[in-house]
């Protein structure tokens, strides 16, 4: 019984990490209708940022969060403002292709600049854990979980209750009207996309502490973030948390009862099922 409890706790914590990763993708997708296949590359960039801050300047990964987010924010802003803005009104499919291309380029550049050597961020508390109800809980994962909730709430607040948020939603709903109201869509889009990138950067920051960093970690994370965004639903910012938790627990239980090589089958199988039966996700309204 306590094994099952531990597995479920593992799943929840994994879900927290997953939600953190998927948040940026879901934001940009849900609000701007941009499906960013280079999302994982942003996570990777955030991870490298935190690695260099940690190894060269001894900055603790949690303290480095704002810096990592800023770095990736800047990359995302430039990318959207000068490249992605060029195809915003094209068929959605073009976005998929172009972000795929950007992903390839970013990965290649990362390999040139950072080399393929894997890196880890190993602060002294990386392996710390505490016991609760007979289960062992890794400290860093618990913190990541808390961060995921905190950032999701922040996003929800910003979108719903700030001027910027209103401008973003206005653009998403009606571009022409938004322009008439004095909103400059190009900047708003770039800011929103940059926010999504920054969130990815935050996830990347922690990723180096729980796993290891190399230029190729992006693609599987993008795929997972997809699954989470769809399963949770794009209409509600909390959807990411629900999706992440669902996937984390599903994968852990699959690993326990069926076998750890079946986790991908489970995640993507469920994704296909959700798309077919309930495309707006667990939190979305059924049409």
């Amino acid at each position: 019984m306590s094994l099952l409890l531990q597995i479920i706790v593992n799943g929840i914590l994994l879900g927290g990490l997953y939600s953190l990763m998927a948040l940026g993708l879901a934001l940009v997708w849900g609000v701007l209708n941009i499906v960013n296949l280079a999302h994982g590359a942003f996570i990777m960039l955030g991870a490298y940022a935190s690695y260099y801050l940690f190894t060269l300047l001894n900055v603790d990964p949690f303290a480095a969060l704002p810096l990592c987010m800023l770095v990736v924010f800047a990359c995302g802003f430039v990318l959207q403002r000068y490249v992605l803005n060029l195809i915003v009104r094209a068929p959605m499919f073009n976005t998929l292709l172009i972000t795929f291309g950007i992903d390839v380029v970013l990965t290649y550049l990362a390999q040139i600049v950072f080399s393929a050597d894997f890196r880890v961020v190993n602060p002294s508390y990386a392996g710390a854990n505490f016991t609760l109800l007979g289960t062992t809980i890794p400290l860093v994962r618990a913190l990541a979980f808390a961060m995921a909730i905190a950032l999701t709430l922040t996003v929800w607040l910003v979108l719903g209750h700030t001027r910027l948020g209103r401008a973003v939603r206005a653009c998403a709903q009606n571009l022409v009207a938004a322009r008439l109201y004095g909103v400059e869509p190009r900047t708003v889009y770039a800011l929103t996309f940059a926010m999504g990138a920054a969130l990815a950067g935050a996830a990347g920051d922690l990723y180096g502490v729980v796993s290891q960093i190399n230029p190729y970690i992006g693609d599987p994370l993008t795929a997972k973030s997809f699954a989470i965004s769809i399963i949770g639903g794009l209409e509600n910012p909390l959807g990411v948390v629900v999706g992440g938790l669902f996937l984390g627990i599903l994968e852990s239980l699959t690993s326990l009862y069926i076998g750890s090589t079946y986790t991908d089958v489970a995640s993507f199988g469920v994704l296909v099922l959700v798309l077919i039966t309930r495309p707006r996700g667990l939190l979305g309204k059924t049409t």
């Binding site: 060029l86 195809i87 090589t261």
Partner: protein
């Protein structure tokens, strides 16, 4: 008179292509085979993505199924290649119907995502099947003689292109185009959209599977990661789009051009191929989203304004 000259030129080109294994050095035959297979894939995507407008990331699923069907038949059951590849194609058609019908109900990017998810799920499923060699894959029996594979690929491409030619002139094809332009209106006009879409998906899957089977036997190796490779899928889409989706020869042109440039880069500056590939995608999608054929048709009249027009239409 012009048509006669055109036909003769065309026939001469075909004859040259046919005779390549006896005229060209081995490396060129190899390159040719790879390009022919890629062109077939681009052409098969053209049917579902170009004509029907359903941008599918799922062709790699059928490519992989075709390859695995062939491999399993030959390695686990000792069957000859001809039977193997047929089994692979049948398996692909079966799955195209099984998976296609539910997935084709989705529109726009949800359809694309669903097919992407299918590819990932397939990779996971196959890597757990003992009969498929799990994650290690299968090593196929060796067959010497590249001419065989070259001619087979050429034949397959010819059949695929002829199919697209037939589609472009048939009611079926017009139905697909109608679905692409406005699916609801097409339905109202009496087109059985479900049937047409399923048929397009099936045809695309069929040709992809055959290409996968040939490739597996040629390379003598198949494993889950390479069989259901998403990058391959994107490559075939880019080739089709770059050349001109929804045209008969667009995918061929795109495949040949991009393949050649990529090959030259790969041998001269190893490793640059993926950078080039990524940049081509970005540039093509931004400046010439309707492909080379559209560019060649409209650029003589518009000049550089052609690119500006594309930007103006799509930029924010």
């Amino acid at each position: 008179m012009m048509r006669a000259v055109g036909s003769i030129a065309f026939a001469a080109l075909l004859l040259t292509l046919l005779l390549v294994p006896w005229l060209a050095p081995p490396a060129l035959i190899q390159f040719g085979t790879t390009t022919l297979l890629l062109a077939t894939l681009a052409q098969s995507w053209n049917i579902i993505g170009g004509y029907a407008g359903y941008a599918s990331f799922g062709n790699s699923v059928f490519y992989g199924i075709g390859g695995y069907g062939t491999a399993i038949a030959m390695v686990q059951f000792g069957l000859p290649f001809g039977i193997g590849i047929l089994l692979g194609a049948l398996l692909a058609v079966f799955f195209a119907l099984l998976l296609g019908l539910p997935v084709l109900r989705l529109r726009g990017h949800y359809f694309a995502i669903a097919t992407l998810a299918l590819a990932e799920a397939m990779t996971g499923v196959v890597s757990n099947l003992d009969i498929a060699g799990r994650n290690i894959g299968l090593v196929l029996p060796l067959r010497k003689g590249d001419a065989f594979f070259y001619e087979l690929s050429l034949g397959l491409l010819a059949v695929a292109t002829l199919t697209v030619f037939w589609i472009s002139r048939s009611r079926f094809g017009f139905g697909l185009i109608a679905i692409r332009e406005d699916e609801d209106a097409a339905g109202v006009m009496g087109i059985n959209t479900t049937l047409y879409k399923a048929l397009a998906f099936l045809l695309a899957g069929f040709f992809s599977a055959l290409a996968g089977g040939i490739h597996a036997y040629w390379i003598t190796f198949i494993d889950p990661v390479s069989a259901f490779d998403i990058t391959l899928n994107v490559m075939m889409i880019i080739m089709a789009i770059f050349g001109g989706a929804g045209t008969i020869f667009g995918p061929l042109v795109g495949a040949v051009l991009l393949s050649s440039i990529s090959e030259i880069l790969a041998t001269e500056i190893t490793g640059m191929a993926s950078l080039f590939f990524g940049l081509v995608i970005v540039v093509a999608v931004v400046f010439m989203p309707r492909g080379l054929t559209d560019l060649m048709q409209r650029m003589p009249g518009l000049g550089w304004r052609y690119f500006r027009e594309n930007l103006r239409l799509h930029r924010l």
